[in-house]
């Protein structure tokens, strides 16, 4: 934090702009802390309040606008990608889309305060075809609210930054423990999964060329190609292997009933 304050005094506008732009583009950078430090610098008369607010809002808007158009042109693929890490990608996509549809306007204004949501809000607005002018208006309100809030915190806490610094150190230690515990839990989970599937023999794999040859032979009638991508089809124009069918991986018990028992099953994902 002390280093941040010194940096702020020297390169405050550029640093604030760069960090907030990076955050708006989805990078994990300490943008809120930069704003707090900038607020403290304003209180010390090292920076001008209107100028720093202008730099912050412009950076956030530029990043969000880029994300908005990325969402617009990638359709639902971006949300699908973000949901791949969830336990149930299909549900994640459906719920995120529905939730944003219901609360999208409010969400855009407060999204920057909520880690995770701030990364998804702008591309979701693009994917869901929100009008650009409406997005810009709401995002502008969100950017101003976020910047003013943290600058104000920094402005007020100038004299208490030493105490804040101590708090950050404590929070950092706690975060290290949480991250370490999460890594250990994940390693145990992967170990259990590995042990569970160890009893199975290695899954037969087939190259595309071999499968094509099989499709061209007398055995073609015994081939069933199955799309098992983690989420469904949302965009018109999405393609799949010709003649394949889709089964929903999260609803396997039901989906299996539709699979032909007399055919060999060839699975593929992206």
């Amino acid at each position: 934090m002390t280093d941040m304050l010194i940096l702020m005094a020297r390169h405050g506008y550029a640093l604030t702009f760069a960090l907030l732009l990076a955050e708006a583009l989805g990078l994990p950078v300490p943008a809120a802390i930069a704003l707090v430090a900038a607020g403290a610098a304003v209180a010390s008369h090292a920076l001008s309040a209107p100028m720093i607010l202008f730099a912050a809002v412009v950076a956030l808007l530029l990043g969000d606008i880029a994300q908005f158009w990325l969402g617009r042109y990638s359709g639902w693929a971006l949300l699908g990608f973000l949901c791949r890490l969830s336990m149930n990608p299909e549900t994640c996509i459906l719920r995120s889309a529905e939730s944003f549809y219901k609360r999208g306007k409010t969400t855009l204004v407060i999204a920057k305060f909520i880690p995770g949501v701030n990364t998804m809000a702008a591309p979701l607005a693009g994917s869901m075809k929100m009008r650009f002018t409406e997005f810009l208006r709401l995002d502008f309100a969100g950017a101003v609210l976020y910047s003013v809030a943290y600058l104000f915190v920094g402005y007020l806490s100038r004299d208490f930054l030493a105490a804040t610094l101590h708090g950050f150190h404590a929070a950092g230690k706690a975060m290290e423990i949480v991250v370490l515990a999460a890594i250990i839990a994940y390693a145990i989970y992967r170990g259990v999964q590995f042990a569970r599937f160890k009893k199975y023999r290695v899954m037969p794999r087939i190259q595309v060329e071999e499968l094509v040859a099989r499709l061209a032979s007398d055995e073609a009638a015994r081939v069933q190609i199955v799309d098992v991508r983690s989420h469904g089809y949302y965009d018109v124009g999405t393609e799949r292997i010709k003649g394949s069918i889709r089964i929903e991986p999260n609803n396997l018990e039901e989906e299996i009933k539709n699979l032909p028992k007399d055919k060999d099953i060839y699975l593929y994902c992206t």
């Binding site: 794999r205 060329e209 292997i241 593929y268």
Partner: protein
């Protein structure tokens, strides 16, 4: 998933490289049938 299908008695194979490899090999693709499309809400 492939293991689970095997467990249920299906003779299962995994296509190496998936859709990307299939597309790279120039093999035929098809657009998703309209009935299979999931309609997500949009603001437009």
């Amino acid at each position: 998933m492939a293991h689970l299908l095997q467990e249920k008695g299906f003779n299962t194979f995994v296509i190496v490289g998936g859709l990307t490899a299939w597309r790279k090999a120039g093999q035929p693709l098809e657009s998703i049938p309209k009935d299979d499309l999931v309609k997500l809400p949009t603001f437009s």
